[in-house]
């Protein structure tokens, strides 16, 4: 049915490695506990698209020329799936970055119409190409060829990646980004693309698979530092935060300690608390009844507002919520302030 050549073995090796990696990431993502953030469900779509890409990339090696002998239609279908899965992955990656930065569907919906238009165009063009070959095609020897329009096709879909990078860079300037790094995703993609240009082997698929695996590792790290019940950070994060403050990465200015009632359903309180706290803060669960919020940046007048809000929430939920707070003095070092305020050494 098909001959085996060295170059085919090479491409099969590489695509197989990429496919195995994506299958593993997919299984792990399906079975892991969630942080409750909206970005988690979109992340699964990124992985599925990357998985389909690697499997299609592996399958097409056996049917496309010059080694493979078709059938022609199957090669076209597989290549179409491969190209479209790249487009889909980049689209969902953009959504994932948006939701990682702003955990809000409203923010996304406002921009959705704008970003859907190129995606719809790319979908139509991909389907049309199956019958016309206006973007890419197979010649009589089933060798893959690209037309001049492929460049523009690539530009449109990679614009999603460029927008994602821009959004990330903008967000990072204004707020800290704890568990996400665009470079950790971009470097494997650039690496794979460069390898493919230089060697003409399936480097991009593997680079892309590694990039998605890196995303998985980043989000898994976040899950590892998140308490499942409350959705806030856990005690491991507190230890890491202390090290980061020692290294000068963060400078806390206000710490609030909460003592919550035992045996009550606190989910309502947690949701309300998220609504009143500023963006630049971390809330950490010490144990079932003790939580702490660490706030960075300017806190002028903030504690007065928060005190009123916490009182209102406690009354509305009919809960006995005790809290105390500490504001950093100028002469205090961040580490000393943090350790005294939180009560950890």
């Amino acid at each position: 049915m098909f001959d085996i050549s060295q170059s085919m073995i090479v491409d099969v090796d590489i695509n197989l490695a990429a496919a195995l990696l994506m299958v593993g990431v997919w299984i792990m993502t399906l079975r892991r506990r969630s942080t409750g953030e909206k970005a988690d469900s979109v992340f699964l779509y990124v992985i599925v698209a990357a998985l389909i890409e690697t499997v299609a990339g592996l399958a097409v090696e056996f049917f496309e020329g010059p080694v493979g002998h078709g059938p022609y239609a199957l090669a076209v279908i597989l290549e179409t799936i491969l190209e479209y899965s790249i487009t889909t992955e980049l689209f969902f990656l953009l959504l994932y970055v948006f939701l990682t930065m702003h955990d809000s569907m409203d923010y996304l919906k406002r921009r959705m119409k704008f970003y859907m238009i190129p995606f719809v165009i790319l979908t139509v063009v991909t389907i049309v190409n199956m019958f016309t070959g206006i973007i890419w095609y197979y010649d009589e020897n089933l060798v893959y060829n690209e037309t001049i329009l492929y460049f523009f096709y690539d530009v449109i879909r990679y614009t999603y990646l460029v927008i994602a990078i821009y959004q990330y860079a903008n967000y990072k300037k204004q707020n800290g980004v704890r568990f996400f790094s665009m470079w950790t995703f971009m470097i494997p993609i650039m690496w794979g693309t460069s390898l493919e240009w230089i060697t003409d082997c399936a480097g991009f698929t593997l680079g892309n698979a590694i990039a998605v695996a890196m995303l998985f590792v980043m989000s898994s790290q976040k899950v590892g530092f998140t308490d499942e019940k409350s959705g806030f950070y856990n005690i491991h994060y507190l230890n890491m935060l202390r090290e980061n403050i020692k290294e000068g990465k963060y400078e806390p200015s206000l710490v609030i300690n909460y003592k919550l009632p035992k045996g009550k359903d606190l989910s309502g309180f947690f949701n309300e608390l998220r609504g009143i706290l500023p963006d630049e803060c971390d809330t950490i669960k010490i144990d079932d009844t003790n939580f702490v919020t660490v706030i960075y940046g300017s806190t002028r007048g903030l504690m007065n507002m928060l005190s009123d809000d916490i009182q209102m929430i406690a009354e509305a939920l009919n809960m006995d919520i005790k809290y105390n707070y500490a504001i950093k003095k100028k002469e205090e070092s961040p580490v000393e302030f943090f350790e005294d305020a939180v009560g950890v050494k």
Binding site: A17, I27, R32, R33, Q221, N239, E243
Partner: protein, 227 residues
Amino acid sequence: MFYIVDRDYATLILDSSTILMILGIIRMSFRHREKNRPDLDSFVLLLVINIIMALGDTLGYLCEYKVFPHSRGLATLGMTIFYTGFVVITMAWLHYCRVRFRGDKLSDRTHFAYEYIPGMIMTVLVLINVFTGWIFSYNEKAEYFRGVLFIPMYILLACYIAAGFMCVAKYRDNNSGRALIPIWVYAIPILIGGTFTFFVPGSASFAPFGIAMSFVFTHMGTINEVS
């Protein structure tokens, strides 16, 4: 003069991608690092050894089955580094599992005397293999041959890897943490990588890539199980 053939690209791409992936994970591990976590230190050590394996593997594959000055010597050097790393990483894996899942401390040396002796002996045998040829050898044309101790070495490596996974399985049995993924699933990449390397001599080595995948998945997967 050194030259590259088609089959070398798979090695170059796979091994360089493995190293890139591991460097990315090490960077992320250091970015979000807690102090006094010997299990995380052990995990990073595993990854570093994996990089050394990948480098040795690259050197070995690029030089074997080729005739140029010192090709035989370089191939031998590369595969010696690879197999030394392979033996050491399996011992390091067992150590990581014990520290992470059994709470062993480095100061507790009672188990060092026994379980790791075969591994240490095998490490010495790999290092002196250049004189003995008991594990592998190359002829004048840099053609690769397996020695009499090749299969026993693989059996030993499999024992260490299995012992590590048994540690994880026992940890799950003893704890109320949710077992989200069967433990054998984590072993699949390493099994595929090892099987490829064992049954297809001269093919692109999946071993460093498969090992990296197994270890990273086990580490990340079990993080998610602990609340």
